[in-house]
């Protein structure tokens, strides 16, 4: 925690699942790559704790939204690759629209002038 930069923010409860699912949309990936992707894409704002990443991956797997298989990584190492299942895709669509509605609502409240101007 001590070496976190102030610009980073804590992940909101429940958003980690959504981020993982979204990350896997283009194609299968392993745990470390997923974490890295989230960090990079969010321009280092979102930091995924490893301590919650792996339980989350396994939880999503138990729910059947993602499936895992052992494959060779681009570096030639055996890695556990996660890929989106059909029901995961549906779940992603769901969560995404929910999130968008949510963030728009927050935006409306935080920037009333901005919205009025439009």
């Amino acid at each position: 925690m001590d070496h976190k930069s102030p610009s980073r923010v804590e992940l909101l409860q429940g958003t980690l699942d959504l981020l993982i699912l979204r990350t896997l949309l283009p194609g299968p990936n392993h745990g470390h790559a997923i974490a890295k992707h989230i960090r990079r894409t969010s321009e280092d704002v979102l930091q995924v704790e490893t301590g919650s990443l792996y339980p989350a991956l396994h939880r999503l797997e138990a729910k059947g939204w993602i499936a895992a298989s052992w494959e060779l990584s681009d570096k030639g190492k055996r890695a556990r690759y996660y890929r989106l299942t059909a029901s995961g895709r549906k779940q992603l669509a769901n969560e995404q629209s929910k999130w968008q509605a949510f963030s728009r609502a927050i935006g409306l409240i935080l920037n009333p002038a901005d919205q009025e101007g439009q």
């Binding site: 301590g51 792996y54 138990a62 059947g64 556990r80």
Partner: protein, 894 residues
Amino acid sequence: VTSFFRKLSWLAQRPRKEAELREELQLHLDEEAEERQAQGLAPEEARLAARRELGNLTLLKEDTRATWTWTWLEQFVQDLTYAARGFMRDRRFTFSALGAIFLAVGAATAVFSVVDRSLFRPLPYSQGDRLVSVGMIMPIFGPGEYMFNAAYLDWRVSQSAVDLTSWNGVAACDLGGDMPQRLNCARAEASFLPTLGVRPLLGQNFSDDEDQRGAEPVALLSWGMWRTNFGGDRSILGKKIFLDGAPTQIIGILPASFETPDLTPMDLFVPQKIPRGPNTRNYMMTVIGRLRPGQTATSAAAALEGPFEQFRADFAARVGARFAKTMWLHVEPLRDRQIRQYRLALWVLLGGVFAFVLIACANVANLLLARSAGRRQEFAIRAALGGSRLRLVAQLLTESALLGLAGGAAGCVLAWGLLRACIAIAPEGTLRMREATLDARVLAFATVLSLITALVFGLAPSLARLRVEMLDGDRATGHRRVWLRQALIASQLALSLVLLSGAGLLLMSLWRLQNTPLGLNQERVVTASFTLPAYRYGQDLRPTGWSVRQVNFFNELEARLNATPGAVASAITDSMPPGTAARTAPYASLANPEGKITPEMAGSVKWRYVSPGYFAALGIPIRRGRDFSDADRARGVHNVIVNELLARRLVEDEDPIGKHLGANIVIGVVGNVRNAGLDRPVDPEFYQVRKSTGDGIPGSGDNAWWRRATAVVRSNLRERHAEGSLRRAFRQVDPDVPIQIETMEAQVDHFLTKPQFQTTLLLLFAFTGLALAGIGLYGLISFLVAERTREIGVRVALGATPGAVTKLVVADGARWTAAGAILGIAASGSLLRLLQGLLYEVKVLDFRVCRRYRYSCRSGGLSRMAPGLSSIENGSYGRPAARLILAVVADRKG
């Protein structure tokens, strides 16, 4: 749903998942380190940084694992294996606790399976609680209900509270054909089954038309009869059997659950065919009613009061006002009627087993208390390491439940064995005993009981301890919160005492019963009871009911019996003492043939129809006058012999010889013979001589009476040979008459089996209970000694002698033993009054019983303390204490 199966399959692949997670995390670390290295850190530093980034590895793994399966299940399995390991390690505790639960659940389940049938389970009729027994009681005829045809026909239509139906009990009937058989036929009205709400399993009930005199005979088979005699063959419906000599069509099969309202076993169910027309007013039957909606037994009785009064007025006009005055209407729920004479015995049994279960539960509680005291440190450590209170309670819960269920399962096996044993030793006809099984209902009871034993009695005290001690772990000594355990021991002792004195009372009553003089000499007497089959001896009936064939049979049998090898004396009688139904006559009709009835003439007189030689055969002494001779059998002679009781009642202290008894003349007086069972006072009785011709045979309302008799032979042969020669005598007369041979001693024993059974059971509970209490006391004292090791050591170091230490320990135990004994005696005094109804010539506050057991408990209590003491000396339980004492003593010497 798929998630459920995935978790289920993961449960099985546990080790693989574990390895995969390890590899996955390792890869993560490698990747991370590589990345850091790429950012310019030294390899070692990069590795450490990666590891730091990962955080708490154990927590991560735990969180991940939690997603694989159900956490609660995991913890449960953990608790379970831990509990099992603990029990295996602590064998002495486990065996004692399991043993107590085993005995408690076994005994209680066996007793419940018997008692439940009669006390709690719904009757096997639809809405059985709406059924009532309806009748009139006339004390002059005995305690049973009567119902006259005239009243029944009227009451059926003259009130609207209850729908009445009738039946006529179970009586013998004969199955003819290839294999003649004596069967039991229940005779009932067409409306009987519908009123009870019973539907035939196959076929149908008989119709009103088939229930008329003159209709073609039909019958329904009982389920048992259908299975055994007809192999459960469905095509039997519509076929004909020969029943009492008439071709009878089988029209239905009754369900297996069917039982007659008075619980008499029966094979066939046939129309009663109530007689109609003149002179049928006094035909008797038994009446059952179904309460209409909104009615209760009380309101039905009120509704019947009007018709009853009308009948009484009519009866007074026809028979006499004095008779009519003594009768009253009786309406009682059917279940209460069924168990009337057993209720007390059943509740006593239930109470006995309840006390026994409490004793066993106290033992379990005590054992668990001792165990939890020993585990204080363990729980403190678990709590300190972050074990939540919930988790600790769950552990205790799991342990108790495991203990309870294991003991309960073993207890069910014991119950099964006990039930077999009970059925084997139970007297014939004990209420529904033979039907008792361990079915789902009883097993559910056993499960609940074992859980209660273990959870309530085991967990509650442990929880109390947990609350106080969870947070401060290491108080090694000085815990004196043993009052709960001592109170448990005291109540165990008290309960055992109650059981013991109850069993003692029953035992004394049984002893009295067994040593009651019967008034006859039962040694070397063999009897053969039989009923001549109606299909062979029922033809050419005279209007009064007998047939020439019957008379010839009896005459020939009498001659053969006298000629049997080894026979000292022989006779034929219609009934036998001490129980089997003798005929009765109202005393009033005998004492005053003119019909003048006074209140002093209440009560009835028993009488038997015997051949000359009856008194010699049974060894009944003739006190006055003479025995019967063949001259008394002549036509027109009406000589009778009375027992002493009747003689006294008839003429006080005068000489009864030559006095009239009704139309008869008294020629002799014989000794009193027990004739109302063993546990009731002797009734007045007289004997009429069997006629050797058809003339002068007394009339009877029971049409099988003529054919039913018992042959009695006093023999100087051994039992087996005497039975053989008796059997031969019958074979020579008619080989097709089925007979039942029994010694007189066996017949008398039948009357003892019921009290013997009750006494055995209660004694068993009492002694096992006392043993449990003893074991509990032993354990408690050992525990106390172990707890006070340091204190005792200090005392000895300060100069206390071993004798003083012993006194200290004994005084503690003695206080609670005494408290238990006093409580037990007080409770016995008040509770055992309830037993009075089961006792014969024993008063409940019999000083001897109390004194005897007070003495035995005192000496028993002390002797039970002895092992606790010896443990100090030779160190079996209190090994540390003994060692300490020895060490201290050695110190002082040195």
